[in-house]
């Protein structure tokens, strides 16, 4: 990605993907993407990166860690509730 237009649009891509960019910026990005394969790839893979991280299940705290936390907080009676 070396073209000046590509670099200028780069800073707005997250706002574009999050639906927070202005209509004018969105139109400019779409116009540019129609002619620029590299930017299309960047936008598509950036979107996919965000989606992938959203879909990964987040790990829970290990059970023994939770037990020790409840003990420290004097809440052990509530643990098996």
């Amino acid at each position: 990605m070396t073209h000046q237009d590509c670099r200028e649009l780069l800073g707005d891509l997250s706002a574009f993907l999050d639906g927070e960019a202005s209509a004018e910026v969105c139109a400019e990005i779409r116009r540019h993407m129609a002619d620029c394969r590299k930017c299309r790839v960047v936008v598509d893979t950036l979107r996919k990166t965000v989606t992938l991280y959203h879909t990964v299940p987040q790990p829970e705290m290990p059970e023994e860690t939770r037990e020790r936390l409840y003990k420290v907080l004097d809440l052990s009676d509530f643990l098996r509730r």
Partner: protein, 198 residues
């Protein structure tokens, strides 16, 4: 009742000394606090200590909590500060979680151009990729990592993240964008090297 309303109700109950409310609070927030701590200190035993410290300090200081921020944000802020103290103790040469190379200098210009966005779901669900995604987060510069974890993984809003970290909305937005670009580059190189075909 919204999450924020539930937290406000919990807060009143905790202040009144209701232990069941403390239990509810821990149930609602402990996993997120632990995950944040683990991402910051990178050591399960230390992350456990940070989690314990967070709730002990929060319950002790609950009367001083002014309620200007959400309970969740307040807890994350305590955890973040506790993690920073441990980080400084372990790395006295560094004064904060900031990486020595400026994480706010310019945007990382995309170099990897392999288009993996059309890969089949089964390629994207592989355990190997999940491990790579995890490693990629761990290798993010700290300033970017904490914003990415709070915004994308723990799903705090931009406002909540800024409040947790004591920074501006603009800084959170810029760091999140930099983190995403950094991770995109890293994952694109991974798929390129793996030789997968869309």
């Amino acid at each position: 009742m919204t999450d924020a309303e539930k937290d406000r109700f919990l807060l009143e109950q905790i202040r009144a000394g209701n232990k069941a409310a403390c239990d509810d609070c821990v149930r609602r927030h402990a996993d997120g606090i632990y995950r944040l701590a683990l991402r910051l200190v990178r050591d399960p035993a230390e992350a456990e200590d940070v989690t314990q410290e967070t709730f002990l300090n929060a319950f002790k200081a609950i009367d001083k909590f002014d309620g200007r921020s959400e309970l969740r944000t307040w807890l994350y802020r305590i955890a973040y500060n506790a993690a920073m103290v441990r980080f400084r103790r372990k790395h006295p040469e560094m004064t904060s979680l900031d990486d020595p190379v400026g994480a706010d200098e310019g945007l990382p210009v995309p170099q990897a151009m392999f288009d993996w966005s059309g890969l089949a779901d089964k390629e994207l669900e592989r355990a190997e990729l999940r491990a790579e995604m995890d490693r990629a987060i761990q290798e993010l510069p700290e300033k970017l990592r904490v914003v990415f974890v709070l915004r994308e993984l723990e799903e705090l809003s931009t406002e909540e993240t800024a409040s947790t970290l004591g920074t501006t909305l603009e800084t959170v937005k810029t760091r999140l964008h930099r983190a995403r670009l950094w991770l995109r580059e890293r994952l694109t190189r991974y798929f390129e090297e793996a030789g997968v075909t869309p």
